[in-house]
């Protein structure tokens, strides 16, 4: 939708719907027809809340081409996501650009295991759906630290052929990490029957999945969340080493062969601005009345 901002008509991105999954995990449906028209599973957007805001990437968790909407699910971890979480349906996001990144490569390989950990359930959802639509038998595995942080079980059940759920603390369905469940699946189906694993979630989780599937020799695709600025291949901030080559996550990825990723380098770069992020959060909490610190 276009809105008059200081005499200028420009696209603005209205929050049409807000769902609160837990105090720190929220879903927005955004009016963004340009993005909705062409986005595919595995792609992401970059948004900027307001004029002084930073650009942050979030994965497209769902989309409706007809309504022109894009769904994002995010976890509040710092200043920008907290500020975002304090926004309500009816509010406007200043900038919202996408779809960015390469879509996940979808093909019919037979069986695919899609693992979503924590907020990673959201990005894995459209990918699982696309694999199923391509004729695969999709085994979904979703996990969260506890029951409170669990969301979209129904969506995942619809997107997958079968779904396995776990919590780290056992507060829902069963106790165990997604890697525990994955191991059981591989052992019971036989590794030769599982040609592909997709894993999206916190870095330690993706790394653990890759360590395990490497032993079984199962190809594993991960979606990397490197730091980004522009998301168009212009700044090189998002570079990672994959198979000893430098790649830009925003244009070459975000999907990569997890067995080739230099995880140690990625995790060092991930905390590049830790001190500044802490400062930004403190600055935010002292000034703004949005209750970011809760």
């Amino acid at each position: 939708m276009k809105k008059n901002e200081g005499g200028e008509w420009r696209d603005v991105f209205k929050i049409l719907e807000k769902q609160v999954f837990s105090p720190i995990i929220k879903l927005f449906v955004i009016d963004a027809p340009k993005v909705a028209k062409s986005c595919q599973a595995g792609q992401f957007i970059i948004l900027r809340i307001h004029e002084e805001g930073e650009r942050i990437p979030l994965t497209i968790a769902d989309f409706d081409r007809e309504k022109g909407t894009v769904t994002i699910v995010f976890q509040e971890v710092g200043k920008t996501t907290k500020q975002l979480g304090a926004m309500e349906a009816g509010d406007y996001i200043k900038d919202f650009v996408g779809p960015l990144g390469e879509p996940t490569h979808i093909e019919n390989v037979g069986n695919v295991v899609c693992v979503g950990g924590g907020v990673g359930v959201a990005p894995v959802h459209p990918i699982a759906r696309a694999f199923k639509e391509a004729g695969n038998h999709v085994i979904g595995i979703m996990g969260a630290r506890n029951k409170e942080l669990m969301f979209w079980e129904d969506h995942m059940r619809a997107a997958c052929s079968e779904l396995l759920v776990t919590t780290d603390d056992g507060s829902y369905v069963r106790k165990g990490f997604v890697t525990d469940v994955l191991k059981e699946v591989i052992e019971s189906k036989g590794k030769e029957n599982i040609p592909l694993v997709i894993a999206i979630g916190p870095q330690p989780m993706m790394r653990a999945v890759c360590n395990m599937t490497k032993e079984y020799g199962i190809k594993t695709i991960v979606s990397l969340n490197a730091l980004m600025v522009d998301g168009t291949g212009m700044c090189g901030c998002c570079r990672v080493s994959v198979g000893n080559e430098t790649k830009f996550v925003c244009v070459d990825g975000p999907d990569f062969d997890g067995h080739q990723v230099d995880w140690a380098e990625l995790s060092r770069r991930q905390v590049y601005f830790k001190a500044e992020e802490q400062k930004a959060l403190e600055h935010h909490e002292c000034k703004c009345g949005c209750g970011g610190g809760k």
């Binding site: 200028e8 420009r10 696209d11 340009k34 993005v35 028209k37 062409s38 900027r48 002084e52 805001g53 930073e54 650009r55 200043k79 920008t80 200043k94 900038d95 919202f96 650009v97 996408g98 779809p99 960015l100 600025v229 522009d230 168009t232 291949g233 212009m234 700044c235 090189g236 901030c237 570079r239 990672v240 080493s241 430098t246 244009v251 380098e265 060092r268 770069r269 590049y272 601005f273 001190a275 500044e276 992020e277 400062k279 930004a280 600055h283 935010h284």
Partner: protein, 470 residues
């Protein structure tokens, strides 16, 4: 008009440009060069000899009628002067500031043979700034032609092309990947050299001509050039996506924390205003000793920005010598005045880091100048056994940029060079794909603002011809 017979008295030196004190300005982001006042600009204009053969004009890539506009300034007809400039140059406030005048118009100035050239760029800047302050009188726009043109990229090439086409009555939409228009003028060239308000004022003028600017629109992603033509009804496309893909050295340690591409370093600072963190959200982090690799404008901007962000030492590390520095002369001088240090004939071979992955130093090798290479410059040759460790904790890589592949990769039938640049006829801007034109850095590789503008203008002319002949 009768020519003056008596020989004009020559004033050998340019009127100095008022500037912020070097040590003070090295710590702030305000504009360095403050601009001439009315008396100074008239005095400077009066230095011009009004040469009949107009040598200066040949040095200007867009052939601004330099003697004519300077004469008007000398006569204090500033409105007339800016009108004259704008016949050829759509962004004079920008060019007056950032053109490498010493290699262009001023290089050929008759006075420059013995004395200092007329300050053509400075006079141009004065006229443009005065107009921006006063409020610009909009040029006439021809009646609508009913033809739609899409311009991809809003750098100087795209803005100029859009402006010319709009004046001819075409319906122009500019698609820009970032959240603001202006290209390198917004994200690359620092505030202290080119205030962003100046760029945005030019963008506003463009909008007043009826040009629609769609920011947050990455062509090749939300749509493609082919779709724009086939589904959105555009009759022609201009591609001006620039050379925004940063090159790295490909040396060990380059992905360490503390190593930035110049694009990231400058984008965080300029576009995202990290120098105002935490009031603005985007962070930047620099250490005490910064090394900037390269010797062009981008490198100078990086090194001067590092000082402003609080670096204790800021070094330019360059493979060749002072003489070969490709940066604008004024930028090198400003950098030197501000305290930027130079390590010439030096090139890094490895970036060293600690266990947490942070830069702790840079292993460099010394060079000496050998035989001239194809470009006529003496080729630097490494001196064996000359490796040493440079004590730095931040590295900014400014060794050049290539074309961003998003548009070339997604456009059918577009001929590219081996480096990925779009092949376009320099006379017309036409590409191998009918109806698609290109210009600026995406065609030439990283060049200059005025060349990009010239290419935008050339393409606008041939797009107009193409549309009106169809």
């Amino acid at each position: 008009m009768a020519e003056q017979k008596t020989k004009k008295k020559i004033i050998p030196n340019k009127n100095p440009m008022p500037a912020q004190d070097p040590l003070e300005r090295a710590r702030n982001f305000n504009e360095v060069a403050l601009g001439y006042d009315e008396e100074t600009v008239v005095a400077e204009a009066q230095r011009c000899l009004q040469c009949k053969n107009e040598p200066c004009r040949q040095g200007c890539p867009v052939e601004v009628d330099i003697p004519a506009f300077i004469k008007l300034v000398a006569e204090r007809d500033f409105d007339g002067a800016i009108k004259k400039i704008k016949e050829k140059n759509a962004l004079p406030a920008v060019c007056g500031r950032v053109c490498p005048q010493e290699n262009q118009c001023e290089k050929y100035c008759t006075l420059a043979k013995k004395y200092e050239a007329v300050g053509i760029g400075r006079i141009e800047r004065f006229c443009a700034d005065r107009e921006l302050q006063k409020g610009v009188t909009l040029p006439e726009v021809a009646p609508p032609t009913g033809k739609k043109v899409a311009v991809v990229g809003s750098g100087p090439a795209g803005l100029t092309c859009a402006s010319d086409l709009a004046k001819l009555g075409h319906d122009v939409t500019v698609y820009e990947a970032l959240h603001v228009a202006g290209g390198v003028l917004m994200y690359g060239i620092p505030e202290f050299r080119l205030p962003k308000a100046v760029v945005q004022a030019e963008v506003e003028n463009l909008k007043k001509l009826g040009v629609k600017i769609e920011v947050n629109s990455v062509v090749g992603k939300f749509t493609t050039v082919d779709e724009l033509m086939e589904n959105e009804g555009y009759d022609a496309i201009f591609i001006g996506t620039g050379a925004g893909l940063p090159y790295f050295m490909k040396i060990p340690g380059e992905n360490a924390c503390g190593v930035y591409s110049a694009n990231e370093f400058l984008t965080r600072t300029n576009l995202m205003k990290a120098y105002q963190f935490p009031d603005w959200d985007t962070p930047i982090k620099i250490g005490k000793k910064v090394a900037v690799l390269g010797g062009g404008n981008v490198a100078m901007d990086g090194a001067r920005t590092a000082l402003r962000l609080g670096a204790e030492e800021s070094w330019i590390v360059y493979r060749r010598s002072h003489e070969e520095l490709p940066a604008r002369k004024e930028e090198v001088e400003h950098a030197e005045e501000e305290g930027v240090k130079f390590a010439f004939l030096t090139s890094p071979v490895e970036i060293l880091s600690n266990e947490e992955g942070w830069v702790t130093g840079m292993k460099c090798i010394k060079y000496e100048l050998g035989e001239p290479d194809a470009s006529g410059r003496r080729r630097p040759v490494p001196i064996e056994g000359s490796e040493y460790i440079m004590d730095v904790d931040t590295v900014v890589v400014a060794i050049g940029q290539g074309p961003n592949p998003l548009v070339p990769r997604t456009t059918k039938g577009l001929e590219l060079t081996s480096r990925g640049n779009i092949v376009a006829d320099p006379e017309t801007g036409a590409t191998s794909k009918p109806g698609v034109f290109a210009g600026g850095d995406v065609v030439t590789g990283a060049a200059t603002v005025i060349l990009a503008m010239g290419a935008g203008r050339t393409a606008a002319k041939s797009i107009h011809a193409y549309l009106t002949s169809k």
